[in-house]
Symmetry: C2
Subunit: 246 residues, 2 copies
Amino acid sequence: MLTGEQLKQQAGVRTLQAIQSEVESTNKIALSVDCVIFGFDENKLKVLLIKSDLKKYLGKWSLLGDLVFPNEDLDAAAYRILKQRTGLSDVFLEQVHTFGKVSRHPAGRVVTIAYYSLINVQHHKLNILDNELHWHDVKSINNMAFDHQEIFDTCLKQLQKRVQEHPLGFNLLPKKFSLRELQNLYEAILDFKMDRRNFRKKFFSMDFLIDIKEMEQDVPHRPGKLYKFNFEKYEKKKKKFIGIDF
Amino acid sequence: MLTGEQLKQQAGVRTLQAIQSEVESTNKIALSVDCVIFGFDENKLKVLLIKSDLKKYLGKWSLLGDLVFPNEDLDAAAYRILKQRTGLSDVFLEQVHTFGKVSRHPAGRVVTIAYYSLINVQHHKLNILDNELHWHDVKSINNMAFDHQEIFDTCLKQLQKRVQEHPLGFNLLPKKFSLRELQNLYEAILDFKMDRRNFRKKFFSMDFLIDIKEMEQDVPHRPGKLYKFNFEKYEKKKKKFIGIDF
DNA sequence: ATTTAATGTGTAAATTAAACACATTATATT
DNA sequence: AATATAATGTGTTTAATTTACACATTAAAT
């Protein structure tokens, strides 16, 4: 009869004590974060990319990322990159997925934690520090460096899903926006056209838009009303939850 | 006038070459995976836990996890743990989130990638190698070791969401099941009661259940019909996609 | 033969989503 | 000043989906 401990040994199960000693030793891996930074400009969904400077991927575009410091929280590392690259703080940021194929990175084993963030391009425009940074139309990007295409695709899908469930999109718009801008945003993110009357009805019936009694300025046509999103009211509401639907 | 390179230096941005040298050096972190292994038994949703053997958390329950080897893919590490702990291969497994607070683990900096998996408890019962392993009713667990309560809560929420969008639940059931078993499963995962007629109507209208013309055996009441899930048909179908609803 | 405890089924009402057209307004043009 | 333009703003009808709700049937147990 074997003891529990012996059975564990036999099964190749290691104890926490064993783990602890390994944490102290060489069983470590380089960790990075990569940010898919989305913006919205000229009625198009954009992503901020940088030209790869690794030989293997020369000229290809890659996401903005960096290694995580051993004494740094993951979210903090992602915020650091955003701050460095856009000059912005207080941006929307969400972790999406961790990519860790053994050979995903030419520099060695690097596991990367993917985030996406949503920024208002107007706030950012003057802060690009680097002429190798560019805003790309999401519909035109393909063939990125490393496994960044896969990371990007995953993050875009996540954004498309989340934006239907939560009021994330407003992070991409000015505080005051017209319903047309809002619809353009949704159409750009979800990549299809919607009926204007039904779109407006939907948002008005949610009752989170505040009519601020102002009109668009300097538009070459009849100006639309401007609205703000009522985040306070939204936070109070509990999300209903049910509906099995494969 | 500063060059792009100087501007990057100024902003604290590091190049990929700089990263490469750091990957080779000490800028590494221990990585683990933790698995929330769900089962379904006696009409209750269960989770497989192990007694912590670290002093700090003595007697508390923790998830099943282990360090990731430097030459091991993340998913492979998760499958390894499942195989070690349950004896099962070919189980459903999905990555959920990566937890990396600097002080989350008493053994030092350990970033952990959380997965959940769904197994059929019937297949597993004879394979528990370790008397410190136990199936817990998910409704009764709280106060786990480390940050495992947070990890567990996150994974349970993800399961609750996913099970409404995809036919995951069938991984927790025998191949042949009655509609009552299926409804009990959904009620256990989502933690509320549903109308039997509407539940049946819903699943029949999806048209993925195959009536295998068999009946339940050895039940102390009128036996119900048995069904299989038509995975093949499901895979062919494209998911419809739209519906903004905060 | 009777009781029990579950299965199996249908319809009406309410809600939500989809389809669809015209008057209004500010700007730009002539 | 008059007209053309290009957008905003608004309701109704239909279809589809979801919810609420009750009774007959069946096999096993008594």
